[in-house]
């Protein structure tokens, strides 16, 4: 079993920042990510509001953060699946598919991911009609009829942007109203290419090699209908990656990890940072803030120098 001072679960801006601060303070730090380093940042085409930097690709920014963390001495492991953990005692244990690790403190910075509908047929057509990225895949649907699923700001804004390509965009939403800002609703309502199917939900995606239709069920009267479309863009929110930790730390009703202002969770020695944490604003800069605070609080915790607890 390899021993560290701190294990950071998640290699996005929050986790990498914590790693930079902790390793610079001569702590032995392991950063584990189930995918690749960078988190949601690598998915951002251009970051224009990160202080001190000209516009930079998210990929480049994440690569620089990773390089900095590694140069300060962080042990960074990617694509390591978490198998089990025990955070209940002073020493914390983490088991992955590749190894067993022990530390005195843990930071949960696993971020989150786009919510999927969860239909079996959804998986079948990912890449052949179903997409979660309008800017990536919109032009494949030029002059075609498509749907956007969702009723928040992202769904409405992306529906408007998809009208640059598609012949028609039908917004399918489960409620009779949108959960979006007025400007986004107005822009969608004023767009002649956009239609609305309210109080409706997707039952099934159909087609052979690629998507050709959608079975939609009305929540008002229970009736089903088939819509002939070749594309479906799904924007139904974001899920924090807190599920594995639900029995260990307190979550709120949105499944976000509850922390105090030091990023400490309900479990002693376990901290949370970034998008997995209960917070109002999710930005790269707020993730960096969380990682910094968690790291400094852990240094106090490990050294027994927390002014609030001594």
């Amino acid at each position: 079993m390899k021993k560290y001072d701190v294990i950071v679960l998640g290699g996005g801006p929050a986790g990498l920042t914590a790693g930079i601060y902790l390793s610079r303070a001569r702590q032995k730090v392991l950063i584990i990510d189930e995918g690749m380093i960078g988190g949601q940042v690598v998915l951002t085409h251009a970051v224009a509001n990160y202080p001190g930097l000209d516009e930079i690709s998210g990929y480049k920014l994440a690569s620089e953060m990773k390089k900095q963390a590694a140069e300060f001495g962080c042990d960074i492991r990617t694509n390591e699946k978490l198998v089990s953990f025990d955070f209940s005692n002073t020493d914390k244990f983490v088991n992955t598919k590749s190894g067993e690790y022990q530390a005195r403190a843990v930071i949960i910075a696993v971020g989150g991911q786009p919510r999927h509908l969860g239909l079996e047929s959804e998986k079948s057509f990912q890449g052949t009609g179903i997409s979660y990225c309008a800017t990536c895949d919109g032009d494949f649907f030029t002059d075609q009829d498509i749907v956007v699923v969702g009723g928040g700001n992202s769904a409405l804004e992306e529906a408007v942007s998809l009208t640059k390509y598609a012949r028609t965009v039908t917004i399918v939403h489960q409620f009779d109203h949108f959960q979006a800002y007025d400007y986004a609703i107005t822009a969608a309502e004023n767009n002649p290419k956009i239609k609305f199917l309210m109080e409706s939900e997707i039952e099934k995606f159909t087609g052979s090699e690629s998507l050709s239709g959608i079975v939609i069920k009305s929540k008002k009267d229970g009736s089903s209908r088939v819509l002939d479309v070749t594309g479906a863009f799904i924007f139904i929110g974001y899920v924090p990656g807190s599920e594995p930790f639900k029995d260990c730390v307190i979550l709120n009703d949105r499944k976000e990890i509850v922390t105090d202002e030091d990023m400490a969770t309900s479990q002693v020695g376990v901290y949370a940072a970034g998008d997995v944490r209960q917070k109002k604003y999710r930005q790269i800069t707020t993730a960096v803030n969380d990682g910094t605070v968690a790291a400094l609080a852990i240094l106090d915790y490990l050294n027994g120098t927390d002014p609030d607890k001594n």
């Binding site: 995918g35 690749m36 380093i37 960078g38 690598v42 998915l43 951002t44 085409h45 690709s57 998210g58 990929y59 480049k60 990617t78 694509n79 990912q126 890449g127 052949t128 009609g129 179903i130 997409s131 979660y132 990225c133 800017t135 990536c136 895949d137 494949f140 649907f141 090699e209 690629s210 998507l211 070749t230 594309g231």
Partner: protein
Amino acid sequence: MTLDTNLKHFSTAAELEEIINSSENVMVCCGRMGPMCVPVYGAMEELQASGDYDNVEFRDMLFDNPEASVIRNLPECSSFRGLPFTVYYKNGKVVKATSSIQSKEQVTEILDEIL
């Protein structure tokens, strides 16, 4: 737009042709610097750096490059509606192609299956 990755890039169909005819195993990711593409480039970079797949040539190609029609127009990609298009060649022939985001685990599974 250029591909800001640490992979070797193809910019012409002739380059692709040359590699697939001179190397037994070639993996090509054809995309942009978008959210679905970047994780695939990342997986390829890590696999390349690991040394476990030294018998595979890892390359990328910009989807909007007119020469990328050599990938875009493959029959194996005809139903694809999501970036990136990732194509695996063995002895000069396409043996597998995927559309949209793939994890490193999925890429590894394919490489292990076709090698």
